[in-house]
């Protein structure tokens, strides 16, 4: 077999089909012959004619299946990797002769392709390294840009600064991949507008009418600029150079090279001659702000090549890579003890993986949010960054809860349906577990220690309650006081929220807002029989629900893809997926059409994982009965007459890839408990972490990086910080090839 392909590669046109035919007959045609044609694929008739689009399409499929090791299926004997690679490289050569782009190369760069790589092959140690990332340019994230603009002072209060680097975010997808975003003319236009505003702010200032009608100039002019703009004569070269150096430091965190200085000086002189000192200087400043380095994180690997031809990131590159992995700030602003990350890197203190791991840990620990004000998460937070929080949000997708439209009629006016508050509760839940850093994934999936309206500290609680007591201007003042007095008289603590409708939101946790004794110390346990981990949190439940109903299919799909590292083929376009709205029956019943043979092969991967969540309504409230008929409101007292049936809570884990967890589950808690105990689930979590922290999909050559990260996690008692430190000190992160 091998020899055939080698001959084939050597002599090009002689019998090109022999090799593939032999490979196919040995590994493929039992299922993909003219008789069986599984998945509509007949390889017997496939010709090595790369000028016929129909056969190119099939070769594309073959290439994809072989390179992802999806085929031949795992239960069948597998061909040697080298044999397989010979065939795939032959296909690639033939493609390139005809100028055909392999579709898999494009797919591989997209987030939703991540799980296509055979999971077991990634973790069984069969794949070789050495690991590295491709040299790359990674467009700045919108968060880094925001953070940077904030660092410039008051410019954004004086003028609108547009977000040039927006990311089209999809629910449950890690979207900030280096391959996915670029800066083109549309981005540049926005950037130019911003840069002009910033240059004005740094020089003449921006005139803005304040709320009281006064005009006020907003500016922050460094002395080195002032010398130039206030001068009546053309500035001296030294003055301009000083200004350029200042701007380089501010925007790039480094001094310009001699050539850069010279070029920018040339530009400044020319611009000053044409437009005067002020405009000329502004033009030079804008040129620094638009440098590719400001737009893209440049990770080329400027270090010396090693024996495998890989180049390590230079100290400067590494400092930025780490800084932006862990924070939204440039490395000169990230302090590790008394030194900045940039200084550490430049002084050779980040040369070994061990020192990098220690530094990463130090930054993550300094980020400990258990002592921070949790309310600040989504605002101008004082804590260093929310990169980790954003991982959880991207991964779980619970922060999409407010974007799921729910009919107001079902909520009624006094419900205080406040999904944003629920999202904050969920943020606190995940970050608390992250900060404690033991058994992180298990706790994420099973903990019943929740936060509900936690204000971050007892001090904040006292402050807010005092405010409510004294805020006589509030329309609901009397009601608030009556409420507080009544609760305190009963020896309980009132909810520190103003207004009865706000307080009712705790109902989504099955908490009675009228009589609840608010726990001043949080997290606190909710009944184990009702909550287990983030997937039973109202934020996640709502985010993964429909407008009127639960969404067992997408919940199951989420589990399949995020926890089992599997994928579900797309819905065939001929299928009109409409769930019956016949509310005489339960949702489980209404999903019966998906049990049809042609549907079930895919739906069995989703529905049995999603249906146990029927223990909650689509607002995340635990329930034992499901209401039938038209649902007008979520409040049961208005549904005294509603027809209900007991919830069928059962589910099933089918073909998860971890035999130890496969089988029926009697309810959602058993499902989550079992998932939390699975090594497959843990490894899937590691894979998704890899994608987030490295900004790309894993490849087979990253196998050792994944195995090491998994080991770091388990050996450190389920430490996510150890996992992150392992990833950020791995060859995959440090080397470029």
């Amino acid at each position: 077999m091998k020899s055939h392909i080698i001959i084939l590669l050597l002599c090009g046109l002689c019998e090109p089909l022999v090799a593939s035919r032999e490979f196919f007959s040995k590994n493929c045609t039992e299922c993909h012959d003219s008789e069986t044609s599984k998945a509509g694929l007949n390889l017997e008739e496939l010709k090595a004619d790369f000028s016929v689009p129909a056969s190119v399409d099939i070769w594309q499929r073959v290439l994809e299946q072989l390179e992802t090791r999806q085929m031949p299926p795992r239960k069948r004997p597998r061909p040697e990797i080298s044999t397989q690679e010979q065939l795939t490289s032959w296909i690639r050569v033939e493609f390139s002769k005809k100028n055909i782009a392999p579709i898999i190369d494009h797919k591989r760069r997209t987030p939703d392709f991540g799980n296509r790589l055979d999971h077991d092959a990634l973790f069984d140690g069969s794949q070789g390294g050495p690991a590295s990332s491709p040299p790359r340019l990674w467009r700045q994230s919108p968060h880094i840009y925001d953070q940077f603009v904030k660092g410039l002072g008051g410019v954004r209060h004086a003028v609108t600064i547009h977000q040039p680097f927006a990311i089209d975010e999809s629910k449950g997808v890690i979207a900030d991949y280096s391959t996915q975003h670029l800066a083109d003319s549309a981005t540049l236009q926005l950037l130019m507008m911003n840069c002009k505003s910033i240059a004005a702010y740094q020089t003449t200032g921006i005139n803005k009418r304040e709320w009281d009608g006064r005009m006020q100039i907003h500016r922050q002019t460094p002395d080195v600029f002032r010398d130039i703009i206030e001068s009546k004569t053309a500035p001296k070269a030294e003055q301009i150079n000083a200004a350029i150096v200042h701007e380089y430091q501010l925007f790039l965190g480094r001094e310009p090279t001699t050539a850069e200085l010279q070029n920018t000086l040339g530009l400044a002189n020319k611009a000053i001659r044409s437009g005067g000192n002020v405009r000329g200087l502004q033009t030079a400043l804008v040129s620094v702000m638009l440098k590719p380095e400001v737009i893209y994180r440049i990770e080329i690997g400027f270090g010396e090549p090693d024996k495998d031809g890989r180049r390590r990131l230079s100290a400067y590159e590494l400092a930025f890579a780490l800084g932006y992995a862990l924070t939204d700030k440039a490395p000169d602003q990230v302090m590790v003890g008394s030194e900045s990350l940039l200084t550490l890197a430049r002084s050779g203190k980040l040369d070994s993986p061990k020192s990098i791991r220690e530094t990463v840990r130090a930054i993550l620990d300094a980020n400990d949010m258990s002592v921070a004000d949790y309310r600040m998460f989504t605002e101008d937070h004082k804590v260093r960054n929310t990169r980790t929080l954003r991982f959880f949000r991207d991964f779980f997708g619970y922060h999409h809860a407010p974007r799921v439209f729910k009919d107001e009629n079902r909520i009624s006016i006094d419900s205080g349906f406040d999904t944003k508050r629920i999202v904050t509760d969920a943020d606190q839940f995940v970050m608390h577990i992250f900060d404690n850093d033991t058994d992180v994934l298990r706790k994420l999936l099973t903990s019943n220690n929740y936060f509900v309206t936690y204000l971050g500290s007892d001090k904040h609680f006292q402050h807010d309650l005092k405010y409510i007591r004294e805020n006589v201007n509030d329309a609901g003042y009397k009601t608030n006081i009556t409420y507080i007095k009544r609760i305190e008289a009963a020896g309980k603590t009132p909810i520190p929220l103003e207004g009865p409708s706000s307080r009712t939101y705790v109902g989504f946790y099955n908490i009675d807002h009228v009589n609840w004794d608010y726990p001043r110390k949080q997290p606190f346990p909710l009944p184990k029989s009702q909550r287990a981990g983030i997937l039973t949190h109202p934020a996640w439940i709502i985010a993964w629900s429909g407008n009127f109903d639960n969404d067992p299919i997408r919940r199951g799909k989420w589990i399949r893809e995020h926890l089992l590292a599997d994928y579900v083929p797309e819905i065939p376009i001929t299928v009109n997926a409409v769930i019956s709205e016949d509310r005489d029956h339960t949702l489980r019943h209404r999903l019966k059409p998906t049990r049809a043979k042609e549907c079930w092969s895919c739906h069995q991967k989703m529905n049995p994982l999603g249906l146990p969540f029927e223990s909650f309504d689509d607002f995340g409230r635990f329930r034992t009965n499901e209401m039938l008929d038209d649902i007008l409101t979520i409040f049961p007292k208005r549904h005294r007459d509603a027809r209900t049936v007991p919830v069928d809570r059962s589910g099933d884990i089918i073909d998860s890839g971890d035999k130890g967890i496969d089988g029926n589950v009697s309810n959602v808690f058993e499902l989550l408990e079992r998932l939390a105990s699975s090594s497959r689930v843990r490894q899937s979590f590691v894979r998704h972490n890899f994608r987030y922290w490295l900004g790309r999909n894993e490849t087979f050559s990253d196998s050792s990086t994944l195995i090491n990260a998994d080991r770091a996690y388990t050996e450190n008692g389920g430490s996510m910080k150890a996992l992150i430190a392992s990833l950020l000190s791995s060859d995959s992160f440090l080397y470029r090839k």
């Binding site: 689009p53 782009a101 494009h106 797919k107 997209t110 939703d112 491709p134 040299p135 790359r136 340019l137 467009r139 547009h162 977000q163 040039p164 927006a166 089209d168 999809s170 670029l182 800066a183 083109d184 003319s185 549309a186 981005t187 540049l188 236009q189 926005l190 070029n263 530009l267 020319k270 611009a271 044409s274 437009g275 405009r279 000329g280 033009t283 040129s287 638009l290 440098k291 590719p292 380095e293 893209y296 440049i298 080329i300 439209f405 009919d407 107001e408 009629n409 429909g546 407008n547 009127f548 797309e570 819905i571 376009i573 299928v575 009109n576 997926a577 409409v578 769930i579 709205e581 470029r736």
Partner: protein
Amino acid sequence: MILQRRHLLKGLTAGAVTPLLRPFLNNVIAENNGTLPKRFLFVIKSSGLTPAELVPSDLIPSMVRPGEREDWPAELVPTKDLIDLPLKDHKLPESLKALLPFIDKLTILQGLSGKMCRGGHSAWYGALGCYHTGNEGNPGRASSATIDGALARALPSIFPHVGLTLGGKVLTGVKDSVVYPGISAIDADRPLPYQASPAMAYKSLFGIAAAGKAAEADNLLQSILLDHMVDDVKRVRSRIGNADQEKLDHYLSAFDSLRDRRRKLKGLEAEIRATAPKVTDKFTSEVETDRIEAHFDIAAAALISGISNVVNVRVDTLEVTYRGLGISKHVHGLGHSESVDGMTPVEARSRIRTFHLEQIARVAAKLKAVPEGDGTMLDNTLIVYLSDAAEKHHGSCVEWPFVLLGGLAPGGGNRYIQYPAYQQPGHHTIANLYNTFMHLAGHPTDNFGRLDNQLPPTLQKGPLSQLLS
């Protein structure tokens, strides 16, 4: 503006053009041969355009049958023969009423297929490019130019392609920035950006028209800066070798195109100022219908001013809720026949379609008000209304209806055309339609995108003769 343009164009035919205005006219009137410019406006909705709802209402009993299930939309009765009827003899469907004043330039085109595309929630680049790409959440690869991209190249202008949208990818909601909906590409792997914020779109298209001495100085400095940046990016590119070369190339060409644009715009500021849309609250409104209206104002102005010949309005995405039309459910929910306050999902979808066509009518009226050659600008324009999901919410692409408005296609106007159904003799695909567009643009092609392997290749080649004569 209207008067001014009329004078200009009359002047041109009389051979008396003032030197100052020459560059602008050069752009408006195709060089050398004196032919009139050609313009395309694509209006792309999400969630499918239901064929049965485009059938003249008096023909419904014979041409439409109920949907497969009770709550599904009605369907076209498949035909074996070409149906070609004058619209004036029939009753326009309710949602097309706004187009009645333009019935002479209105064509309802049915029965084309696009099975070479993926279908589903969106055929992504395939809808305008005729090929299979993407999956549920992502556009996949743009393997060649889409028709709007190809036309942008064929009909060059200062802004070759103007993309305006409410949201990004089909499953996302309203945005306020530059986005890539994944439906347009100027070339293989070159997706075209869309501006989601009307206010920003206005700034980038018409902002250049600022007047005065300061503006002049600004423009000079801008040229100096752009020249410098082009050199600077080139230097960086040579330093980093082959890594991610494509990204720097994009950035470089962004500076190049800005530079080029400034050169071309020089001297046209007053013209553009006169044509620029009036900025209203709608440009910054959060209400979806306001933003859509603002986008259509911009689209009309971009075409009338001549700064662009190809504009694409991606009019909604599945997460958009038409609150301004009193519809409480987002487009996605309506597509899944979910219940909605006070109306049936079909009624809600009809209300949305009516709104889109009213906007199209508004643009058409503006174009019609501007004389050009012996007629008006509308005579030299084609407005193309379609859905990137073809014929329904999860499109199968077996049918792909279009509403065409404008005089650019000589065979178009006052016509209801329905081609024989899929795999019947005489059937055609969207590739034929896009070939037609290329013919109209003066760059005839006979093949567009990929072929549908289930159909004979010959019938997928060439333009639709009905529209050309």
